[in-house]
């Protein structure tokens, strides 16, 4: 660590439930999202977390950034561990002591952790599952996941003569969660903290399993400027590429509308290095058009216009 002389004011201690001193990268959307979730949930919670960036940058023994009870076990079992925590609280008559929140990244949720999550949702545990979606395996060096968007460049879906990046569409994880017949499914974005707060608070009042997926830019993996984390997140929503909605008992009850006239997807893509290859040749325009079609379909499907 460099030895900068610390100057300037230093009065009251930081009071967030995700304590400062964590080692997330500069401008990390996931750290921000976790801070906002904890802030909304309050102290009377028990959280689980899958292996991944969030776990690594918050729990380097002997330090921990968590001001609430926290447990990390493995990559794919955050939902199952949370199921056990909830079952134990019930068994011990301590249900009123804490709400249970399970956390995972997009890989830990939609890929390797999908089975455990499905089990948790199906069994009806009173747990809020939060997926911090930064759209790739960032902790291991930006490899593609099931939630990586179409044509996105990652270290395992590189751009090349025969490749425009990730060949597959982003998995409809909220749809999969909703298919379990759970009472509450929502998506959100770090660009809208008040919305995260409202959704977390609302979810925690609903008994049974809840699923919340938060779009969390990763400057390192998205090759975006750290100070633009919020801008990038906003553009994902404004273009229709990341639909933000609330679904109660299987019905969409609320959406965040896109701007009119609609923002072309180029605006979102061009400020991220992970899509830079699309702008290098005229053929890339055809790919951008495909991405525009994805946004248009979202706008229609979720009624975002």
């Amino acid at each position: 660590m460099t030895t900068t002389t610390v100057t300037g004011p230093k009065e009251q201690a930081c009071d967030t439930l995700l304590a400062a001193g964590h080692t997330a990268c500069t401008g990390c959307g996931e750290a921000l999202a976790a801070k906002l979730v904890l802030g909304a949930a309050g102290r009377d919670i028990i959280v689980t977390d899958a292996t991944g960036c969030l776990e690594v940058f918050t729990t380097r023994f002997p330090q921990s950034s968590w001001e609430v009870p926290f447990i990390h076990s493995l990559f794919e079992n955050s939902a199952a561990v949370a199921s056990g925590v909830e079952a134990a609280l019930k068994a011990l008559g301590r249900q009123n002591e804490a709400k249970v929140i399970a956390q995972g990244g997009d890989g830990g949720t939609a890929d390797i952790g999908l089975q455990a999550l499905s089990g948790m949702l199906e069994r009806g545990h009173n747990v809020l599952y939060v997926c911090y979606d930064n759209e790739a395996y960032m902790n291991t060096g930006v490899q593609r996941s099931g939630l990586t968007p179409f044509d996105c460049m990652t270290t395992t879906s590189p751009y090349g003569e025969y490749s425009w990046g990730n060949k597959h569409n982003k998995k409809d994880m909220p749809g999969i969660a909703a298919a379990h017949g759970i009472p509450y499914v929502a998506t959100a974005s770090v660009a809208f903290p008040k919305d995260i707060e409202n959704k977390v608070k609302k979810a925690l009042t609903i008994p049974g399993p809840k699923y919340l997926q938060i779009h969390s830019p990763c400057p390192l993996g998205w090759r975006s400027n750290p100070h633009l984390t919020i801008k990038v997140a906003k553009l994902a929503i404004e273009t229709g590429l990341y639909p933000v909605f609330e679904m109660e008992n299987g019905k969409i009850t609320k959406v965040r509308k896109v701007k009119t006239p609609k923002t072309p997807v180029e605006e979102y893509l061009k400020i991220q290095g992970r899509f830079a290859h699309l702008f290098k040749s005229p053929k890339g325009q055809e790919e951008i058009q495909k991405i525009q079609e994805i946004a248009d379909r979202n706008i229609e499907k979720y009624g975002l216009a």
Binding site: S64, V68, L74, S83, G84, L92, A98, Q115, G119
Partner: protein, 390 residues
């Protein structure tokens, strides 16, 4: 005191688990573990057992659920076998590393491929380095009693390690024997409620399962190893305490049968011990001074106890239902290591027997004895069908 009932092994074990008052049970069905978890489900359904029974979608999640429950302060139990056990292994290492005193029954079964649902001990032996205490039961009375002892060993505040009770699939789980069942009152007298020192709760918000780098990881393994060794005393003490209260003694770390004056001794684990005792009686009647040493605690491996019990014998015959492929008998080689550097080493022969449910008959053991007398320092398969390997 308890009552003696003619009962299936699985049901006896389930009833014993019941009187141990587990607060959370989670399991996934797999043959031949099923009768245990089915009966536990019935006890819950009938209101006889107050526990949260979590039906999961895999063994990985079963182990993860009991992990979360134990970290929250609950007494937790799971059971599995074979493929399910292998699927759990990642979590098993995690549970031991997190020092959670979970109890599981490992019903011993062969592993795939080829798929085979019958008994050997390859599943649990594969996880011998996981940090779980592994105890092996000889018969259903011991399997049943061992579970009550297991909770007491695991929850000892100086130990805090998970304990696996291993019992041979079908041979024990599906066989009927008269069993003295433990009453609730007696179980409560023996096993106090679980009071964890640290658990997940908002009043003392600790972080469990943190990342430890090169500056501390080795020490975590050192602590595990040290505690494993320390647990030897606790396992012996708990067996003695059990003997004192219930009048039944199945051995501590090991048990011996007619070993004191023996020149030849069988070493084995699990249900084959019963057959070996019959052979010992038969051979003794013919004048051969032979005995049996039962490994009850396989991890921790009681080297000193084994040495003390066997240092006078001429010949050791190790029988085992598992193999380290490319190496040979696992138990046989560990028994050999007991005598390394000692002034006197007996002849030690190892035999792989009974894999995938192959019957171990009196004839099989006669074959072993004959072979052991004629050869030395070899490990081999006994009971192969010569026609199939030509």
């Amino acid at each position: 005191m308890g009552t003696t009932t003619f009962i299936e092994g699985s049901i006896a074990v389930a009833k014993t688990i019941g009187v141990c008052r587990p607060q959370v049970i989670s399991a996934y069905p797999i043959t031949p573990q099923t009768h245990i978890v089915e009966h536990l489900s019935e006890l819950v359904a009938e209101g006889e057992l107050k526990t949260e029974y979590v039906n999961v979608e895999s063994e990985h999640s079963a182990a993860s659920v009991v992990l979360g429950a134990s970290a929250t302060g609950a007494r937790a139990y799971t059971a599995t076998t074979s493929q399910g056990f292998l699927l759990m292994i990642e979590v098993l290492f995690n549970i031991a590393g997190m020092r959670l005193p979970i109890i599981m029954t490992c019903v011993n079964r062969a592993v795939s491929a080829p798929i085979n649902i019958w008994n050997d001990q390859q599943d649990s032996l594969t996880a011998r380095d996981s940090g779980w205490i592994q105890l092996y039961a000889e018969d259903n009375q011991e399997a049943s009693d061992m579970h009550l002892q297991a909770f007491k060993i695991a929850e000892n505040k100086d130990i805090m390690l998970p304990v696996m009770v291993c019992m041979d699939g079908f041979v024990l789980t599906h066989s009927f024997e008269p069993i003295e069942l433990i009453s609730q009152e007696d179980a409560d007298k023996f096993l106090p409620p679980y009071k964890p020192q640290y658990y997940l709760n908002p009043k003392n918000p600790l972080s469990f399962g943190t990342m430890v780098g090169p500056d501390g990881y080795m020490e975590t393994r050192y602590f595990l190893e040290k505690t494993m060794r320390d647990s030897q005393q606790v396992i012996s003490d708990v067996a003695a305490e059990f003997h004192n209260q219930f009048g039944r003694f199945h051995g501590g770390l090991i048990d011996t049968y007619k070993v004191e004056d023996a020149t030849h001794v069988f070493v084995a684990m699990g249900s084959v011990i019963g057959t070996l005792k019959d052979i010992v009686d038969e051979q003794r009647a013919k004048g051969q001074k032979i005995g049996v040493l039962k490994i009850r605690s396989y991890r921790p491996f009681p080297k000193d106890e084994i040495y003390k019990a066997l240092n006078h014998v001429r010949e050791i015959i190790v029988l085992e239902k598992a193999i380290s492929l490319g190496y040979g008998g696992i138990l046989a080689n560990e028994i050999k290591s007991v005598f390394y550097g000692k002034p006197k080493t007996p002849k030690i022969n190892g035999y792989i027997i009974g894999l995938g449910g192959r019957d171990i008959t009196i004839d099989t053991i006669h074959h072993v004895i004959k072979d052991a007398v004629n050869t030395s320092f070899e490990e081999k398969f006994i009971g192969l069908n010569e026609a199939l390997i030509k």
